[in-house]
């Protein structure tokens, strides 16, 4: 268990927050994270977040589904259990298509959703510490890590938050697992 000291400002509107984030980036301030009640348009560019790679994972999972279904049915109906159904050849490719499609979608969806929760550090019963209860309501939070910063630097950050329009500035120690 790791303790983390956080300095954060709460903003009332996502546009004020977005401006503050852009300014903080311009000043090369070390932003810990930004917490919002809903996805803010343009935030990932403002924060300079790398594009999510979830879709690549999704493609791989989907491919796995395609291969599982198609190769599985091929092996079953040509090697393990070759039986003629309705005069069709053993390897009746067109009638394998529906199940191949369904398993592609199934594997991709389950795989991506599970990956999403794992990389987010989420799951049933996981209790990630939050900075303020109103962040899921109507407050927009910009947080800085206090670790390794002198009092002077912290004061500068506090001023920055107030100057950019934060309605409240707080400090909190959270426990990160």
């Amino acid at each position: 268990m790791k303790k983390k000291d956080v300095l954060f400002g709460l903003y009332d509107d996502e546009e004020i927050l977005l401006k503050a984030v852009k300014e903080a980036r311009a000043q090369h301030l070390d932003i810990m994270d930004v917490f919002t009640p809903f996805p803010v348009h343009g935030m990932e560019q403002a924060l300079g977040l790398a594009e999510s790679r979830l879709h690549i994972a999704g493609f791989v999972y989907g491919l796995l589904g395609t291969l599982t279904a198609f190769l599985g049915m091929t092996w079953i109906f040509t090697k393990d259990y070759p039986i003629i159904f309705g005069g069709k050849p053993f390897w009746a490719v067109p009638s394998f298509i529906p199940i191949t499609f369904e398993l592609t979608v199934l594997f991709a969806s389950i795989g991506m959703t599970v990956s999403f929760y794992i990389v987010n550090g989420q799951g049933f019963g996981v209790d990630n510490p939050t900075l303020d209860d109103r962040i899921t309501d109507d407050k927009f939070c910009l947080a800085f890590d206090k670790a390794g910063k002198s009092e002077e630097e912290l004061n500068r950050l506090r001023d920055f938050l107030k100057r950019t329009g934060a309605s409240e500035v707080h400090e909190k120690t959270i426990e990160k697992k």
Partner: protein
């Protein structure tokens, strides 16, 4: 906000809401229990109980308690199965296809529609599961290595495709719905205290609202929507294969897949309208599920109603044009045979009645919408009954012609699925926000009435002068 104000665009959130108002309005129904809710849930549970009783009766007494016979082997069960599956289509359509088309009005209704999908698929699944006769052996339907020799299921059979399609559809819908629900459960969690907070914290999976998480969340939603779009079209296509790949006149038609998909969207939207007109009234959500939402859905109903109607007429024309005597008889029998009343019900409810929505005033009338939605659902039920029972009742051999009418047990099971559906829906309304809180907040500045619409435009002009 330096956004151009459009007087033409109709606001989707009315009442000058702030972000906090949205949280308050949408989450508060989960925080109190009302008498009407408790009574409704009890009534639904009672209906469910009767359905369970009828199911037990079926397995105790045997299939003889149903009125299906050797000629008409598919009666109420498969009719209801197809009907419920069709209803399930609107949820994914609203959440996935409309997301890809960037239709903002989906945010008001998507959560409830997705929940409806999941519950409707559960109701649907009950029928084929029971229809097998020995549901405790239903796991035989899944291909798995077994000790009965090399013995596998038939991958060439549309009935097996259907199993895969429906289980995939159910799973993907559930994931899509729950993933969307997680940030809202976090909102409920952060308002709660004590045990309630602990319970919601468990289900909110430790959501914090971090920017990186939101980025991944949007990426995931978009791709799941992209995957669910062909999936939703495939499900009813495959359901229609159950019929279309057979050799029965009246079933063996290539028009079935698009016709079934359109019908499914038609009935699904009707059920969404039924639920939404009641939900918005009872939970006072008129500011979030506005007349604009209702009108949009009525337009979809009008369009899909016409697609379905065109399919009916095409079927009749092709039957005549084919010159094939059995095909011609099958359709003659549908219109003038012993089940002529079902055909009239289908045509009246599905093809004629939606035309009322050509008139804008009726499209925007909640009472008319509510009754129309019931009409459409009755019509779509008749459609499945016509396709299944009428066709089977008059097959190639006149000596085996028969007539079918459900027994009280079959009707009871059908009522039971309504009980199941409404029990689950009512529980859902009680425990989770019925409108997607985060998504509504995200569109507030582009769809709220203080930002767009006639009123906002007037105000903007007044301040400009």
């Amino acid at each position: 906000m330096s956004q151009p104000v459009s007087p033409i665009r109709e606001p989707l959130i009315t009442g000058h809401k702030t972000y906090h108002d949205i949280t308050e309005d949408l989450v508060s129904p989960t925080e109190k229990t009302t008498v009407s809710w408790a009574l409704a849930t009890m009534a639904a549970a009672l209906m469910l109980g009767y359905g369970v009783f009828c199911l037990i009766w079926t397995f105790w007494v045997g299939i003889g308690s149903w009125n299906v016979n050797r000629t008409i082997g598919w009666g109420y069960d498969i009719t209801n199965f197809v009907w419920w599956i069709g209803i399930g289509h609107a949820g994914t359509l609203i959440s996935a296809i409309l997301l890809l088309f960037r239709q903002k009005w989906r945010t008001g209704v998507n959560r409830a529609a997705e929940a409806m999908t999941i519950f409707a698929v559960m109701c649907a699944g009950l029928f084929p599961a029971t229809h097998t006769g020995r549901p405790w052996f239903d796991f035989f339907m899944f291909p798995y290595p077994n000790t009965r020799g090399p013995l596998w299921v038939n991958f060439n059979s549309p009935l097996l495709w259907d199993l895969f399609a429906i289980s995939t559809y159910f799973t993907v819908s559930l994931l899509f719905w729950y993933t969307g629900l997680v940030p809202d459960l976090a909102t409920v969690r952060d308002r709660a205290k004590g045990l309630r907070r602990k319970i919601y914290a468990f289900f909110a999976m430790g959501w914090t609202g971090s920017a990186k998480h939101w980025q991944r969340f949007e990426s995931l939603s978009l791709i799941l929507a992209g995957l669910a779009t062909p999936l939703v079209l495939s499900v009813h296509t495959i359901v229609s294969y159950d019929f279309a790949t057979s050799v029965l006149p009246g079933w063996h038609t290539t028009i079935f897949p698009p016709y079934f998909v359109a019908g499914a969207i038609f009935s699904g939207f009707a059920m969404v309208q039924t639920l939404m007109t009641i939900t918005r009234k009872l939970l006072k959500l008129e500011d979030y599920i506005t007349i604009a939402h209702i009108e949009s859905m009525n337009k979809v109903i009008l369009l899909t109603g016409w697609i379905v109607g065109t399919a009916y007429l095409t079927e009749l024309f092709i039957a005549w044009y084919s010159g094939y005597i059995y095909e011609m008889f099958a359709f003659y029998n549908r219109v003038f045979g012993p089940y002529y009343w079902a055909y009239i019900g289908m045509m009246g409810c599905n093809v004629l009645s939606p035309n009322i929505f050509w008139v804008k005033k009726f499209r925007r009338n909640v009472t008319i919408t509510f009754f129309m939605s019931i009409f459409v659902n009755i019509g779509m039920w008749f459609e499945r009954f016509v396709i299944i029972v009428t066709t089977l009742a008059r097959d190639y051999l006149p000596s085996s012609w028969s007539y079918y009418w459900p027994s009280w047990v079959e009707i009871g099971i059908y009522l039971g699925t309504f009980g199941l559906f409404f029990t689950l829906y009512l529980i859902f309304v009680k425990v989770a926000p019925v409108v997607a809180v985060a998504e509504v907040k995200a569109i507030l500045k582009t769809a709220g009435d203080q930002y767009v619409g006639v009123e906002a435009a007037k105000k903007a002009e007044a301040t400009a002068h």
